[in-house]
Symmetry: C2
Subunit: 391 residues, 2 copies
Amino acid sequence: MISVLEAQEFVLKNAEKLPVITLKLEDSLGYYLATDCVSPLSLPSFRQSAMDGYAFTHTNETRLKVTGQIQAGDLSTPHLKPGEAVRIFTGAPVPDTADTVVIQEHTTREGDTLIIEKLPLPKANVRPIGEQLTAGTQVLDRGHQINEASIGFMAGLGLTEVKVYAKPKVCIITTGNELQERGTPLKPNHIYESNGIMLQNALKRLGILNIQLLNAEDTLDATSKAVHEALENSDVLIVSGGISVGDFDFVQQAFQDNGIEEHFYKVNQKPGKPLWFGIKDDKSVFGLPGNPASSLTCFYAYVLPHLRSRMGSINPLLNKRSAILSETITNIHGKTLFLKAGVNGNTITPFTGQASSMLNTYALSNALLLIPEDTEQLNAGDAVTYLDLNS
Amino acid sequence: MISVLEAQEFVLKNAEKLPVITLKLEDSLGYYLATDCVSPLSLPSFRQSAMDGYAFTHTNETRLKVTGQIQAGDLSTPHLKPGEAVRIFTGAPVPDTADTVVIQEHTTREGDTLIIEKLPLPKANVRPIGEQLTAGTQVLDRGHQINEASIGFMAGLGLTEVKVYAKPKVCIITTGNELQERGTPLKPNHIYESNGIMLQNALKRLGILNIQLLNAEDTLDATSKAVHEALENSDVLIVSGGISVGDFDFVQQAFQDNGIEEHFYKVNQKPGKPLWFGIKDDKSVFGLPGNPASSLTCFYAYVLPHLRSRMGSINPLLNKRSAILSETITNIHGKTLFLKAGVNGNTITPFTGQASSMLNTYALSNALLLIPEDTEQLNAGDAVTYLDLNS
């Protein structure tokens, strides 16, 4: 049995990057850059007024003659002589013959005469060419996750396309004869299937939309066939349930029969001990425990970072943060514990109801409190580490 | 001029909830519940084995006769007599005539005889009916934002639909004659339009996809017409640029001409002072400054919480968190400052390049450092407050 850290190392080391694709900038939100981004422009690309006011060549003369105006977007600018000023607006080009803009609130007008009441410093309110950046500068690194600000930024550089890593096609196979589809009254001794739709939506939150959902009967033949079909059609396969060693758990055998190489089985953690991970060519395969909360914890700790890494992230794990524990926790298991918890301000409170079958508390959690395997007790008031579920 | 807190109060007080709609559970990720969710079921709904092993009635007898097996999903269970046990698997129904499950690792078999090597406590490894929750319990509150865990949880309750608040239709109008579409070489004194696509993607990240993008020429007539069209077709109107008092800023006049009631204009903040907010009937209208970084800061501080509130969130503001400042910051403005910053571990570092025209640093920011208007200096090592841009 390997440790949580070892298992995370395995899934990150075996995360081959997906192919590089070219997307329109407007469709690239959430993707990771596959190349460094170099600016084709200087910003600003012309000398620009930062305010509404008057452009002039700096002088101690406080009465100037207004000879015209320049609006943002004007293609040319007037030539100013000494003693002249020109009305100018934010974003408009500053004439070569001016070096300073006085803001309108610091002036008055008498007809064509401008009276400067508060003289600005030379060069005030003029944005020089390249103030923000010069052409040829590397502005974003490979691995940057594209957000609304970087989209706006790249748009301002005139970029229309970006090279990013593709997102994976994922197949989810649910197993278990006790599972029933929603929409009909629950049969005796059955439960409504929930892991498929849960994992599908966890993927959706990562921007992964190409998802196939299969259900396999609890027979070796059905399980093997489903695994075979999934390997044909997807980059990543997630099987939920059937991974322990009960007589009716056919998943491991089905993995073997399909030629998937086991990288590890079982992690020293609670919940989610019977986690399986393997590789076949460029396909990655996860066998998750069937209990919903175990399944989701394994998703956050292993599947999510693996997927992000394949999508090009250089920082794929959920963020570790620190908070103050509200109550005493013991760890009698010698395992790493992941406890569903709520962080409020600087305080973290683990929920009552940690059993691996219980999703009600997960629905309310924004954190997983992390108790290391060699920590037997944490006390109220201790600074503890948690995984930020929104990171 | 009002304060940041007053402005936030205004936009949250004037955030009428959008209509309640019914969605399929699988399409509800990210929406906010419009009703409390009450469980129609007890979970588990039958006595369930938590492990693979053997079910029996607790006894000190360590040799029992195995009379059959129960698999998860079996519709009926055998009747056990004293001295008998039955093979059972995780999730399978425990017979009424048994009260305990011994895990298989604590047993050996000799033909039909089970030898219990480590006797569990009575009732061990049996999940009683209603252990997680009983039918009729309120399990999720109105205002809960639906995540993958709550989708899985509600699926497990057999729910097929949820009542949520609709998401708004939003129209973005960009203004400014200096703006040029991407795809052609930059004309003199022009800049590539970036605010429209930036705000569109900021909305996308909130799950708002019904977005109309308009560009208005810098004339009162064109601006008024665009505002009119936007009010016809959207719940929320965002105008970017043209909101200061320069001669070519027609947006305020266009708002007035379209009968939009001004709630406030100008906030004591940097960047983003000339922020405008108004209401017409059930439509909300924001006039954002045209500088890209100002525009995005106003989006995060006001537009985003307003939208979340209209979508039903009870906690709509970006999370405030605490970190240690890496360098000394002065605030000579008497205004609230929002500084683009990077949080790494417990340390926050404001970026060089805070000018309101600069998006390059925003692309790298995961936080906005908040400096209150009455704070003149913060020192390296101080605990400071920031807005988490991923919250």
